[in-house]
Symmetry: C2
Subunit: 232 residues, 2 copies
């Protein structure tokens, strides 16, 4: 584990988390952080463990999920560069992580331990605002996901999830928006079986509105899938 403190925001990274802070505040916050490397399949926090650190993903990708009683995983959201996790640490002092977060790619993160969190929260109050803002967004996204599962068919959920994922992990390529997702990953995020995911993707490929490769999906246009994902 690297323990070098980060004195500058890694270039190219922008996080809504820092939006309300002044430049000196950002500097102070970064000075208190430690930079770590993460590898695929590494568990970054485990639900139920006592929350001892707040962290921000700098590079790579992570998946937040909850483990169901029987062992199934309930996918909740992707973590992409700029996303903050471990908010329980700062939101209510002695708390436990609500969800498990696992790295799915090589990457790095900035971490603050419990003491740093509390010191920083006192030092700059706008940090608390930022945390609350992130939590609110999380809450909102969760309600949306619940609505999708209740009101939308498997096909519409898939289309919707393609759009959501595209905004998070999509890169604009020559042929359209490229997503590094396997069929299985997409199926899990949309809460659909692997087979229905495959079938719908094949159908859309036949219609010519997307192109599939092994572990990669290329969308010709986002708005098309937005309209498929809409109700009615």
């Amino acid at each position: 584990m690297k323990t070098a403190s980060a004195v500058a925001l890694p270039s190219g990274l922008q996080s809504t988390f820092f939006e309300g802070l002044t430049a000196p505040e950002i500097k102070a916050v970064l000075a208190a952080a430690k930079l770590e490397r993460v590898s695929p399949r590494q568990i970054l926090q485990r639900e139920g463990d006592s929350a001892t650190r707040l962290w921000l993903l700098v590079t790579g990708r992570a998946a937040a999920y909850r483990v169901a009683d029987e062992g199934g995983k309930l996918f909740l959201r992707w973590g992409v560069p700029g996303d903050v996790f471990g908010l329980a640490t700062i939101v209510r002092a002695p708390a436990r992580y609500l969800v498990t977060v696992e790295a799915v790619q090589e990457g790095s993160l900035l971490a603050w331990d419990l003491a740093s969190c509390q010191a920083l929260a006192l030092q700059c109050p706008s940090l608390s605002k930022a945390v609350n803002s992130v939590v609110s967004n999380y809450l909102d996204g969760l309600i949306d996901a619940l609505a999708a599962r209740s009101f939308l068919t498997a096909e519409k959920r898939l289309a919707r999830m393609l759009v959501v994922s595209a905004r998070q992990i999509g890169r604009t390529g020559r042929e359209g928006i490229e997503l590094d997702l396997t069929n299985e990953q997409l199926a899990v995020t949309a809460n659909v079986s692997l087979f229905t995911a495959t079938r719908k993707l094949s159908k859309w490929q036949d219609l010519g509105i997307l192109k599939k490769h092994r572990g990669k999906i290329v969308l010709r246009s986002l708005s098309l899938f937005e309209s498929i994902g809409k109700p009615i």
Copy 2:
């Protein structure tokens, strides 16, 4: 609208919202509140409206839901005496309500306007802690609901919802735990069609583990339904 301020916590009411506060703090918070009566079907807050007040249900029952694009209602949770809503008001200054809350019974609530909220938040920091705690619980419950919809059958969801509802709105009566719920209300909360709800309830009545009346359900024992609602 009554505008009398509440100087004492209504007798019998206890809310986790006040748990971390000292007696004088509670007094100050209550002094800033206004007591209002509410009637059935009254909308207490509407999703999307700008969040201008925080409120606490004193008596009665409310339902929190989100309106889906096509008009369907996605039930999220019951509000019972002691529950706090409109947290967006205090969590991030200029915000909008995330959900709609509607009274389902005659009742009353204590409300704080935006100015009071901000003044109180500065005055007693433990209030922010309380708000964060409520939000965390809300988040946790939401993830549980999502897991239930993803992993449990209609029958298990119904059993689980009976248990959840029993803890919130159940009264201990002569024959067991009494719930003031119509079949339709239960169906909506468990995200099941009215007909499946009726069928399962009839089946359970035949098995002798509950008794139905018009608009009322009496559970012989909670633990029985807890085991039905468990996975596997």
